[in-house]
Amino acid sequence: MKFLVSRLTIGNVIVGAIVIILVVLPVAGGPREWLLYLLLFFIYLAMANMWNLLAGYSGLISLCQPAFLGIAGYAVAMGTWVSIPWWLGIIGGAIIAGIFAILIAFPVFRLSGIYFAIGTLVVPEALRLLFFLWKPVGGELQGGGAGYIIKGLADVQMSTIYWTALGIAVASAVIMRIILNSRLGLGLAAIRDNERAAASCGVNTFRIKLYPFLISAVITGLAGAVFYVYQGYIEPSSTFNVKWTMIILLATVIGGLRTEGGPIIGTIIVVFLYFLLARYAGYSLLIQGVILIAIMLLSPQGIVGIMRNTRFYRAIFQLANRRLANAKTE
């Protein structure tokens, strides 16, 4: 109990309350529209958190996240064609995505910086072509460019998918927190700041970079698999597509790269944009591209960076925390 109280900061209280509200929302009769947007929010958030771990905290600009979510998505879809239940497919898919991450780590980890980015960019493109050709299950009319329907979803409730996605999003945030406070997080920060000095302090740079890559592949895979279960259908063009990378990148950069809160704020804005721009779907990439460039040039630390520099924000939080501390001592 004492342990719990000591962690009772205003931030944690608010986060806890929000999570509880989100959990009960489907049974409390939240409108279906809301649930849908929240579902997207959870999925994007998990992916953005993982990209933040890679690009922000580990200095790995990975452009192959669609590969992970696509592989897991395909695993679920193909699994249902051989009678593997969808939930098992999600787990299996995430594991396969993880194994795939280790495999491609060997070529791409030999690259650093910009080379790494472009090396990873090739991966989803290659997979897209592969899944155009490779159709292990289904008949003539399925697979390839036609894609797969995910079977056996008839009696799956929207709320089940919603809760799964919520669980993954929360897990991704918790994992981030754990990693950042662990020796792994410290090693990553050291590599990002100065790879040469990190190695001379005994950090095995290859291995330390492999962990976040693997973790991001698994969590992104989970989130992707849930997305395709929700969509009920998967095909290569939209799956192994830069648009996914764009969403992930935008959410992280708008919110604030290398900040814990950044992906949350960024994802809210991205989902909101998605909602707003639904009418202008044709222009959405253009608008997002402009936002991305503007944020990067004007406030590289994103919205969190702007807030940090605002005295007002700081003052409010200090005051709130002090009140809470006083309450605890009384």
Binding site: R183, N194, C201, G202, V203, T205
Partner: protein, 239 residues
Amino acid sequence: MNEPILSIDGITKHFGGIVALEDVSFDVQRGEIVGLMGPNGAGKTTLLNIIAGEYPPDSGKIKFKGRDITGYPSHKTCHLGIARTYQIPQPFVTLSVRDNLLVSAIFGRQVSKAAAELEHDRIFDLADLSEKKDTLTGELTSLALKKLELARALARDPELLLLDEVAAGLTEPEMPRILATIKEIRNMGKSVVLVEHVMKVMVNAVDRIVVIDKGMKICEGKPEAVMNDCKVIEAYFGA
């Protein structure tokens, strides 16, 4: 005589046609402080980089505690017990002083975070950084950065320290503080290779001096003898 802790045997290194080191050999005994001196571009830092494993030599062997470590990558030489500092401090700029030291303690000694934190204070005291534990390294002064560089190497608890110009860039009044730290390191029984330009530090701290010029060892011996050696004067002042 015991086996030397570090034995450098015939190291040669070329960089695209330019000779950086040519057949350099010397030993460092346990608990000994060896000074490495020579004019700019003589190859001192290159030698440290090769010992620490940043790049392999073209030929020659390096033995540490009797084990051939030639061509080991730097994280491995660190795990074996070699720590180094850089001439221009290379801190992890987004981390606090405390975390900078923790990186070295945790990954260098391959221990858990808790175990590393226990011993911590000793290092802070040693390097005179106790009051700056939570400062981001980006905000430190030149002197504090130099100390941090030293402290980070010590946090590894190494058997052999490679110190690259710890006193360069410091003012006269700051000198004694660094000197005292080096003496403490000696009292801890550690072996040191010290690259230094500031004579005062060199002469007061070292047991033996090795002089290299244009990549070749030109002289080795006790400080007084080396300082009076014509070849050394020549190397620095020109004939």
